[in-house]
């Protein structure tokens, strides 16, 4: 028991240590911007642009040739004084909305964006029906029978 606990604590510390030293494992080996605000924008942008060859990684996560090129391009546009939106538009014009990890709401992505609300609503309806039925069965057997009866008629 104690041994398991010790192992768990050790694992937790090891993982925390790995996370804390994340910078040491950074993929992006390019130099930081002089301006920390610029660096923050660069990090935010590269973390929300998809690397299209590796698909489930951002260009900040990947050292695929294309990711390196797109990081370089992002860096250059920032230095040229482009806004974040201009940089996103640049990427979308070339690679389509798929390049964005946060695609805009349009007719294609409506279901994607709406799904959480739809699922939540569906879950709420199911929960409401179950709760009402159970409440009926517990406190008033007659009503519960009625409910079951109604249902078989439906």
């Amino acid at each position: 028991m104690i041994r398991i606990l010790a192992a768990r604590i050790f694992a937790t510390i090891a993982i925390a240590g790995m996370l804390a030293s994340g910078a040491a494992f950074a993929i992006d080996s390019s130099e930081d911007f002089e301006d920390p605000r610029m660096q923050a924008r660069y990090e935010k942008l590269t973390a929300e642009l998809r690397c299209l060859v590796c698909q489930n990684q951002t260009i900040a996560d990947s050292n695929a040739g294309l990711a390196v090129d797109l990081r370089r391009e992002t860096r250059q546009m920032l230095l040229d004084g482009k806004t974040d939106d201009q940089i996103r538009t640049f990427m979308v014009e070339r690679y389509g909305n798929f390049v964005l990890y946060r695609p805009p709401v349009d007719s294609n992505t409506l279901l994607l964006w709406g799904a959480p609300a739809i699922l939540l609503l569906g879950g709420a309806i199911v929960a409401a029906v179950v709760i009402r039925r159970r409440a009926g069965m517990k406190f008033d057997d007659e009503e519960g029978d009625e409910l079951a009866h109604e249902e078989s008629n439906a």
Binding site: L52, G65, R94, Y95, G96, S152
Partner: protein, 177 residues
């Protein structure tokens, strides 16, 4: 009644989504360039760096632009197909030699044959980004006025060429003023 119908309806819906979703290839991303003017470029020619190859070179006739590199296995795989298309002579093929060693590229074309009318050397991959290229080989079909008609991602073969691309090329040529 609902008790039985709802789960079945839900199941059928899920199966529908899966059938559609699993039959799509997530590595084929539709190009936003289709129907738009090709992004202009002018690059040094692979054969003679003093000359330029670019959108101006390709204009005036229906043409293919093939993105390739000697490092790309799919490009070697489709090379025979490109040779056959070039031999048929219906549509000229231009090449975009993407992030490659020019010497290696010239050597590969000497050894395996050269299907290209001309090649632009995109050493730093800057032009490829403008074209939304994310993996070689990619092949674009261009109208005479430089509009992008079609993009094929991955190695070409004669089946794809004859069924998907050639008809579009011939159609574009007919519509040409």
């Amino acid at each position: 009644m609902w008790r039985y119908f709802l789960p079945i309806a839900f199941f059928v819906l899920l199966v529908g989504f899966f059938l559609r979703g699993l039959s799509l290839d997530p590595s084929e991303i539709p190009s936003p360039l289709l129907g738009k003017p090709a992004p202009a470029f002018a690059l040094p020619s692979l054969d003679d760096p003093a000359k330029t190859v670019g959108t101006d070179t390709m204009k005036g006739e229906v043409a293919l632009l093939n993105v390739w590199g000697t490092w790309c296995a799919g490009c070697r795989q489709e090379h025979d197909t490109l040779m056959a298309i070039a031999a048929a002579g219906e549509v000229p093929i231009y090449g975009l030699n993407w992030k490659d060693d020019p010497d290696a590229a010239r050597q590969m074309l000497r050894q395996m044959g050269n299907p290209y009318v001309a090649n632009g050397v995109d050493a730093d991959g800057r032009v490829a980004i403008d074209w939304g290229v994310y993996g070689a080989p990619e092949t674009f079909l261009l109208a005479a006025d430089g509009t992008v008609i079609y993009k094929h991602i991955g190695p070409l073969n004669l089946g794809i060429w004859q069924q998907d691309i050639l008809p579009l090329a011939l159609q574009a040529r007919e519509q040409q003023p």
